[in-house]
Symmetry: C2
């Protein structure tokens, strides 16, 4: 089974990106949008033809807002527009329920959610590689046919994405945590900026930009998404509210003790205990945050997971470490992948530098370093026994 012809209904960022990817893989793509200029723009980008198919296509992709999936699906199925149907809405229980209730043949529909986006929208922002390597949820109902699921899987493959087949409610609970609540948190933070003093923007850095970036999303579309997933979202938000309430109390104590550091009072000992507890609450929250981050898969690092560990003895004269960095950079090793320790413990002598190298390149890298005058080798080679004497200066992700 191979999908030969698809229809993309809704040529915004997501629909047009799917259409571009499919067209490049030789699939015939028919494009439509309530806004005909959007469909023609997508066509002019090479995403397909801005015309209606003559007969039923293999798969119709409904790239419309969550609340429109049900009505559009029912309407298209009523006129035999396609053999199978999927959508791209970021909530899945609601569309599934609508399909089960109102679609002429729910077995032909499987929910879908490609988990990628950009901070731009509209067909001009589309990219054929938008979904490459990204998860794409598929949420078959108990009625979804193998054929419908198979065609949706083919679409995911055509787009280079990674299929994640799961139940619609499992999906909705997960994205409440990974997407919908993060959006609300970004909005809550960004809303604070409105009331900040003038000149605040002079102090805005990358951290603030990152925390608030997703809050740019269209409020009407996001209102639709959040309403559709309110039950899952509110569970997470309520726990967050509990943490925040505790945090406000702790900060109140710390703020008060900040202004009172001068005053010696009888209650000083009690205050000290209260301050320590407040600080404990604060640091506990920060630590739980760090622990939570371990649930997010790490971004790709320069050092491959199965890297071979190398060790180089490096003089600690000015610039020597930079010279080593230059020598290894051509092999994909960056300073961020290295650790440094004292070669002879305490203060004397040089530095022991350790890092992971691509297994395929490790031997050549060692040979080049040795040829360049360095004492280099595998980490379990000469010099390794000294490790416990030295003090390690790792580069630490903070």
């Amino acid at each position: 089974m191979v999908i030969r012809a698809i229809a993309v209904v809704g040529t915004g960022l997501i629909g047009t990106s799917i259409a571009l990817a499919a067209s490049r893989r030789g699939v015939t793509v028919f494009l439509s949008d309530r806004d005909s200029v959007a469909a023609r723009t997508a066509a002019a980008l090479g995403a397909g033809r801005a015309e209606a198919p003559a007969g039923p296509v293999d798969l119709a992709v409904l790239a419309v807002p969550p609340s429109q999936v049900g009505p559009v699906l029912a309407e298209l199925q009523g006129r035999r527009f396609a053999h199978s149907y999927t959508d791209v809405a970021s909530v899945k229980s609601g569309p599934e329920l609508a399909a089960l209730r109102h679609a002429p043949d729910p077995s032909r529909y499987v929910g879908g959610h490609p988990m990628a986006g950009r901070e731009f929208r509209g067909p001009l922002a589309a990219r054929a590689d938008l979904f490459r390597g990204r998860p794409w949820a598929l949420t078959p109902s108990h009625l979804t046919s193998d054929t419908a699921l198979g065609r949706a899987r083919e679409l995911v493959a055509v787009c280079g994405a990674v299929p994640v087949v799961t139940q619609s409610q499992v999906h909705d609970d997960a994205v409440a945590l990974t997407s919908h609540v993060p959006h609300l948190v970004a909005s809550l933070m960004a809303a604070r900026l409105r009331e900040g003093p003038d000149g605040v923007s002079r102090f805005a850095g990358q951290g603030l930009r990152d925390v608030t970036r997703v809050a740019r999303g269209e409020s009407a579309l996001w209102g639709d998404i959040l309403q559709a997933n309110a039950a899952s979202v509110v569970g997470v938000v309520r726990d967050l509210h509990t943490d925040l309430t505790r945090l406000v109390s702790a900060l109140d104590v710390l703020a008060l003790s900040q202004t009172q550091t001068q005053t010696q009072t009888q209650t000083q000992t009690r205050d000290a205990g209260e301050r320590a507890r407040a600080m404990g609450t604060l640091v506990d929250l920060l630590d739980r945050g760090i622990a939570g981050l371990s649930r997010i898969p790490a971004a790709p690092s320069g050092a491959p997971d199965d890297a071979h560990r190398l060790r180089v003895a490096c003089d600690d004269a000015p610039g020597e470490l930079s010279r080593l960095l230059d020598a290894v950079s051509g092999f994909g090793v960056a300073a961020d992948d290295m650790s440094v320790e004292s070669a002879h413990g305490a203060l004397g002598g040089g530095l022991d530098v350790r890092f992971g190298a691509d297994p395929a390149l490790a031997d050549r890298l060692v040979a080049e370093l040795v040829a360049g005058g360095w004492d280099a080798g595998r980490e379990n080679g000469p010099g390794h026994g000294r490790r416990e004497e030295g003090r390690v200066v790792p580069v630490v992700r903070t």
Copy 2:
């Protein structure tokens, strides 16, 4: 007045980056750290000499945690380590107060805060260009001498940063909003991930990564920072708590109506009003977030601010718009900078494409497009009068 020799006390990410920048500009830099391997690592990177200066340096840069600035300053001034002193702590009122109270000569000290960082720490993560183009707060007290401020300004210039001279309390209020509360918000969100169901990580995308990224910061250091700025931080956090409390109520209503959509009750009309109000609360928060984002200076865009507006008539046949994109890409114009409308209104004919071009390149670009067969020109040239007939498909930042 030119700084010839400085000492960097604390060779972590920030201290070593400053030392690298200064060394590259010919300044003599002396490096020290409680951890001698860190200082030697910085020296081996070319950041300076891991030794004590023979006599007083022009400027000592205290790259130590906020709570250490006061004690280290007093100790160094006591032995005439430098003529002037500055620090890099991310809170400024506390260190200033400590200097005024405990330093032998507070006139020689000016608070400083370079507003840049990385998600890595330690000397190996240092970059000479870490501060280029970034704001660097300088917070002179009423006692700070012009000489001390002048030397700190020179350091800022040497690092390529943008000095922002302000009062310590103004700085602390601003960074509470732009840095400290965003950190707490990221931690609150990341802490939720700990309790999420298994498999949540399969759904983690760039949005979640961005919102939570800064939560990686060391909890001990950040506890120190937040405690030192608790009074400013709690004001912002309390307002955020108020918004969140309202949000929980609104989501509760929406979640309830989600589960009750099937039930016809006498209270339906009242419920509809309640739902509408809840939706209003939700969308209002999202809109306030979008409004708040306008306080953050936009990241650099492909189109220069004073771009000349060009217009090109483009056939809407498959791939024609891609051909135009290829033609203009060499001139720094990207799809994200363009808008498209129907050339003749409604459905007929081609597309009118508009975009900004570098003023210095605009004429050459138009000439090349015309030579390539396109109908191209300035936006106020032929064809502009048609604009109101067409429907605009802009690329919209969301």
